[in-house]
Amino acid sequence: MRNQIPLIIVFATGLIIIITFFIPHEPFGSLEQRFLIWYSIVAGFTMLLGLDSLTRYHLVRIRDKMSGWGFSIVLLFGLFLTLGLGFYTWAKYQSPFTLGSPFMYLYTYVIIPLQATMFALLAFFIASAAYRAFRARTSEATLLLIAAVLIMLGRVPLGGWLEKQVIDLLDFIPGVHLTALKSLSIFALINDWIMDIPQTAAKRGIYIGIVLGGIAMSIRIILGIERSYTSGS
């Protein structure tokens, strides 16, 4: 019975959600929204679970003096400082998000710069990953390299400048009038074609597979065939 109850709840919920998609009349019409509100409430309370897990994890690290335990002290200090400032601001300003409050000061001048710093690292990681991906070892990698170079030339100012220089250089050939090509922005056209045709086609192919896979997975979950969310029991 312990295993059956979750399956019955999932089956009933799944069926109701499917029905609400096709029946706009009350009480079905607003059920999806209502379920989402319930989910938000439950998710809000599970943050306490997260808080408990995080605190215990780092307390164990500090107690056992595990590698890098000093960082755990910093983390717990930051966690409770943020929490404390949030409650203090809420009590003083009636909202933790009041501009100029201590909580928002912490958010604006500590959290946002830290997030931006992590995000900025992405540029360097893209460079290192691209270097490995574009090494022309196989025919596929060579194709990828060519496509990437063309895309880059079509998107950066250097591409336009290079194109103009090449056209100027070839202009000396008698009987060949390349001036009309200057206004065409060939690299930009190639870039648009790659992005609009092969790239979109591949993306949509994958997307159709994902959607159908998701539907089949959902049917398996609703029918109780897929039970991994109940720890597979």
Partner: protein
């Protein structure tokens, strides 16, 4: 002397011109853009909705199509009595020509008129009505979705039944899933832990459920090999599900004593905070195998490149199309989109699982065939537009039916 006289004449002309010019401009504007009332006003109950909505449509006034004409927009008035007091219920911006009254009470009869607002006056349309709103029991615009839902469900259940009866179903090899055992074995041989991440998946993402079945398989192997499994989490609900899955796998492997809840901690619900936390764990613990399974955003490459830098074997799987190139570039194996959903069937090849997979593939084949037919009809429709307009009309009909929402 003549020069002074000429200057005097010019001055008089200039003064007269300045005095008369505003009147000329005003009269020209008034002539060019006459104040007119909105015409052809129609109101109807909004189709396929849950009620309380009435849609109003009217033809744009002449001034509506001219820039800086002094026309501001249309005020909407409503009353329950055509001869009673009308209430202003909203404003339609210039160029819209329609308004949706979302405050109607179902079954109650309403009368409407629209007032065009100009810089120098108003013009009111005729009063129309009575109109009432009502809720529909079926969203007819979603008939296409209903038909396809039935078709896909039928195919999935049909193939499940056939598989149950003993029909053998073929599943192609998926390299990323075959490599799971090798990756766990490699980490064990190196004496390093295994790291598994769901990315930013919430439990409402189907991909998180698919990732749970992969986690179950990895956890069982790691319990058998007595290798530490780390699962840092972004979402507390996913964390709870992951803890239960790993615990169950350890029990199934006969090693419940090895299960340690602190190896599956919650990190943070902040995207880059999570990326920083996972990177920190990887740099400290140096896992031998890393699994990125779930939904990822911009943090995917930050984490997988760090995994590459510590020399871990990495197996990724996501349905986030934009992140797939990053994983392909930085990981050893990548499960692309639907391969993730096939993972549970692949790892647990029971008839019911395999049957659903076959049903999914058949649905895909049907959709592909429909796409090809529509492309052919559409192309022929354009090529034979004049001699055979019927083909183009058929294409437009098909397009309309398939894209209706």
């Amino acid at each position: 002397m003549k020069l002074i006289k000429d200057q005097k004449n010019y001055l008089i002309i200039l003064v007269i011109g300045l005095l008369v010019f505003p009147f000329i401009v005003t009269s020209v504007q008034a002539e060019a853009i006459p104040i007119s009332a909105p015409s052809n006003l129609k109101a109807y109950d909004k189709p396929n909705d849950g009620g309380r909505n009435i849609v109003l449509r009217w033809d744009l006034v002449a001034a509506d199509t001219i820039l800086e004409s002094g026309f501001a927009g249309d005020e909407i008035y409503r009353s329950e009595d055509p001869n009673g007091q009308f209430e202003n219920i909203g404003f339609a911006l210039k160029g819209s020509g329609q308004y949706e009254d979302q405050s109607a009470t179902d079954g109650k009869k309403y009368y409407y008129y629209v007032k065009a607002v100009y810089a120098n006056g108003f013009a009111q349309s005729k009063v129309i009505g009575p109109i009432s709103s009502r809720a529909q029991w079926f969203n007819a615009a979603r008939l296409n979705v209903l038909i396809f839902t039935f078709l896909i469900c039928f195919l999935v259940i049909w193939y499940i039944e056939r598989a149950k009866k003993g029909q053998k179903l073929f599943v192609r090899r998926i390299a990323g899933l075959d490599a799971i055992d090798d990756a766990v074995g490699r980490a064990t041989e190196m004496g390093r832990p295994i790291l598994f991440s769901f990315g930013l998946s919430a439990i409402t993402d189907v991909v998180a459920i698919a990732a749970l079945s992969i986690l179950g398989k990895i956890a069982k192997k790691s319990a058998e090999y007595q290798t530490k499994l780390l699962v840092p989490n972004y979402d507390p609900i996913v964390m709870t599900a992951a803890q239960e899955t790993v615990k169950q796998s350890y029990i199934e492997a006969g090693r419940p004593d090895l299960y340690n809840e602190t190896n599956l901690p919650f990190l943070t619900s902040d995207q880059f905070g999570y990326a920083a936390g996972v990177d920190g764990i990887m740099l400290r613990e140096k896992p031998g195998a890393v699994f990125w399974q779930g939904y990822f955003y911009a943090e995917s490459l930050i984490m997988s490149e760090t995994g590459h830098s510590i020399g871990a074997i990495q197996i990724a799987g996501t349905t986030a199309i934009t992140q797939l190139p990053f994983f392909i570039a930085s990981c050893d194996y990548t499960l692309i989109g639907e391969e993730m959903f096939a993972a549970s069937c692949y790892l647990k090849p029971e008839p019911q699982m395999l049957g659903s997979l076959k049903g999914e593939d058949t649905s895909k084949a049907i959709i592909l065939a429909i796409l090809i037919i529509i492309v052919i009809v559409g192309t022929l429709g354009v090529l034979l537009l004049k001699p055979l307009p019927l083909i183009n009309n058929t294409f437009e009909l098909l397009q309309k039916w398939f894209t209706a929402q």
